[in-house]
Symmetry: C2
Subunit: 473 residues, 2 copies
């Protein structure tokens, strides 16, 4: 039944008030109420968060993520894209996840680069004989079997190389760039070879991208630019780069003989490794937890990114142990071929982006699992406000910091497409000491720190996956 006009007119002042209220005053109040409600909802998870933390830090699961990672990396060793070790690692992890009783454990196929290092050596033959410790860079071509022997041109920057371009022809360019930050200085590793080739160099040797060295070379991916000759390229140690710079300043002629057996084989088959706790109410909606299973072909890949893998797995195990099944699905994806430029992550995005509206939050740990500080977050102000409440649940382990998201990662494509993203933030001051070196081993990892990271990871994933609403976009 409809109302008569008089009654409507009689209600008019109220309707006007309601309109004004909705449009001018009450909406903010509604939002505030809504956030207040969410805040209340989230604070209701305090006891559960405390349970998860207790299990991970003092309970039955104490040190489990460390022990699992140690067993995995001690057994498999390092595992570069395309290698048999990476195949073994994926099989190992697939079996372990099934054995752990996780759900929907499966592999998703990915084509990955297959670069192999081969034998490599660098010998300074002038002004004196000195064997250098080097690591060839991923995607570099090799030398002939005799190697390349040439005089060295030492530069401190790309600018200096350009200003001395006429001196570079036929030489080995040695970059002795200072370490500013990884994000800035890694340009020398990534582009050093092509920039040197452009001015006629026959090879390039790049000071390792690290603030600290015990004569430690660091490997990593490098990018040849289109239309520029591919020349062999490797990282040398800070020590050798600085020594050659001193020799050059003294006017001494430096000659180096470089041999690299590196080659690129046809792309190989690999897999992203997936396991879930299926959501109880919205199984199609996903909170994604991740780390990458591949590593460089040195050390154990325990820090980069064994730690991220182990705490993501541990987060699922903790929730399973406590019988916690959230409304949404928590999906762990262990990326393959991250080190070759996020290859596994990018193919995963292509395959699953059609379902993007169901991706609630994408999470990644790939900067070490040291003592945790909190999260780096990317999302709208509204989503950030919700996450601020979520991290408050971590007060018992003092990891409530929520910072702005930093550099590019395996979850970047999702974040660029508007999905909220979170990365683990830890006390990672020493990360680049060990990054891509023979020193990336279990010795860098601490069971106590990994317990804390696992607790943080599990609490955030569970609570976000269990909230009444997905995070606002």
């Amino acid at each position: 039944m409809m109302m008569g006009t008089d009654r409507v007119l009689g209600l008019l002042p109220l309707l006007v008030l309601a309109f004004l209220c909705e449009s001018l005053y009450c909406k903010p109040n509604n939002d505030v109420r809504s956030l207040a409600e969410i805040t209340r909802e989230i604070s209701g998870y305090r006891a559960i968060a405390q349970k998860i933390i207790h299990l991970a830090v003092q309970g039955e699961a104490q040190n489990r993520s460390y022990d699992r990672l140690a067993a995995f990396t001690d057994t498999v060793g390092n595992r570069i894209s395309g290698s048999r070790n990476l195949e073994v690692a994926i099989k190992y992890m697939y079996s372990a996840l099934i054995q752990d009783g996780l759900e929907n454990v499966h592999l998703e196929q990915v084509k990955v680069p297959h670069w192999v290092r081969g034998q490599e050596s660098a010998m300074m033959v002038l002004p004196r004989n000195h064997t250098m410790t080097i690591l060839g860079l991923g995607s570099s071509v090799g030398t002939s079997s005799q190697g390349v022997e040439a005089e060295v041109l030492v530069v401190e920057s790309f600018e200096e190389l350009r200003s001395r371009a006429s001196e570079a022809k036929g030489k080995i360019v040695v970059y002795n760039q200072p370490f500013v930050s990884y994000g800035e200085t890694v340009a020398y590793r990534a582009y050093g070879a092509s920039e040197a080739a452009k001015v006629g160099a026959v090879a390039s040797l790049i000071r390792s991208i690290t603030p600290v060295s015990i004569n430690s070379p660091h490997t990593g991916w490098q990018d040849y630019q289109p239309g520029v000759p591919h020349i062999p390229t490797a990282c040398i140690t800070i020590e050798d780069a600085e020594m050659m710079a001193r020799m050059a300043r003294r006017g001494q002629k430096i000659v180096v003989r470089l041999r690299m057996g590196a080659q690129t084989l046809p792309d190989a088959d690999s897999f992203n490794t997936v396991a879930e706790i299926v959501g109880s109410e919205h199984p199609e909606q996903v909170v994604l937890l991740s780390g990458h299973l591949d590593s460089w072909d040195v050390g154990q890949g325990a820090m980069d990114d064994g730690g991220g893998v182990a705490i993501s797995w541990e987060a699922l195990s903790l929730l399973r142990d406590l019988g916690l099944r959230p409304k949404r699905t928590i999906r762990m994806v262990l990326w393959t071929a991250e080190e070759q430029g996020g290859v596994g992550a990018s193919q995963y995005f292509e395959r699953h982006k059609g379902n993007i509206s169901n991706f609630d939050l994408v999470m990644e740990s790939d900067l070490g699992t040291f003592s945790p500080l909190g999260l780096q977050f990317s999302g709208t102000k509204q989503a950030e406000a919700v996450m601020q409440e979520v991290v408050k649940l971590l007060a018992p382990i003092n990891t409530t910091a929520l910072e702005e998201h930093g550099e590019g990662t395996d979850i970047e494509l999702w974040m660029e497409a508007g999905v909220p993203g979170a990365s683990l933030h830890t006390a990672d001051e020493k990360y680049f000491w060990f990054h891509h070196t023979e020193g990336d081993t279990m010795t860098v990892q601490s069971p106590v720190e990994m317990n804390l990271c696992s607790a943080l990871w599990a609490v955030v994933a569970y609570v976000v996956a269990d909230l009444d609403d997905m995070l606002p976009r």
Copy 2:
């Protein structure tokens, strides 16, 4: 002529007074006066100290010790006892000291051990293939050319080895002892082989003696005990020691194949290298400044002990530049074969100990030339009181700390025989990160820190050598 009895008796009260004064009151007063006088005397050197400091830190000599050390180590490289490199180093330094216009530059012959490393490798073949980075230990025997392949017994201490002695026969003992301090933990490097041989082991691999590692092995001397079989022995990295310990705890069988081409050749001829500023009043009295010229056969030996060499040389140069000739002789001795157990220093002591009463102060720098803190001193309380006044002259560079002397060194024999001794004390927290590794290079050294060390070294040597009296013993 003799005095009559009456006159003697008449003087009696005065004599008694004099005796009492001497024995009860006046002697302390004399001493106090004497220290007060010395204090006054030393404070008179303030302007000279300031001049030396200025020359070293801001003046013409700024960075000279660093530049000299860089040129020396970049040219010669490392220089182990018995090696051609050490011969080259001694010739280089002899010429450089003469060219620098120092006095009495000469070499004193020493017979030194001649151990050579040869090719070496260690491969874990069970539970998986893994190449270990090792450094054989000085004086170790080699293996046969096929190497030795055996199961591993991992222990955390000598106590554990003894309690598991029955398991050791035919095995390679791996020591995974924790790092407590160099002084304490180095016992595993020194005695690990003989302790393992006593219980039937065929080789020993010892976790490197360091608090920090980027998969960095550390070499060093080791001592076979008499009557115990000589078995090959090397240091492995913390990383590999910890990994094998984890594998052993899991009950995994570990097998390692070790190949070492090490051998000990007949003793070689070498030299202590000497230069002086001859004293103006008591040229036979000596303040001795020292560091050791030999190094291990890895890295550049820039820190151990290139820095000690360079600041001792620089101290003489600074005084020469300023035309400062002290009353006593300042003699620099650059020891040879320190790393083999203070061989050069001990032969020097035997040759010169007849003249010990003329040795005023013996000084040594062999724990790095980092940011200086002051001196470690060994001597009587009276001598210490004098040195307390001397280090006050270093207030302009804030290095006035005088601490008790620490561990055994190249000046130990003199100190044990009662000669006051002083060692440079610097902020050496990172010393053992680089000690006896490929990372002991110029990269560890800082010109600014070396300027300060040189200034301290020159001020102390000059002032002590120029005081009216030798230090009390």
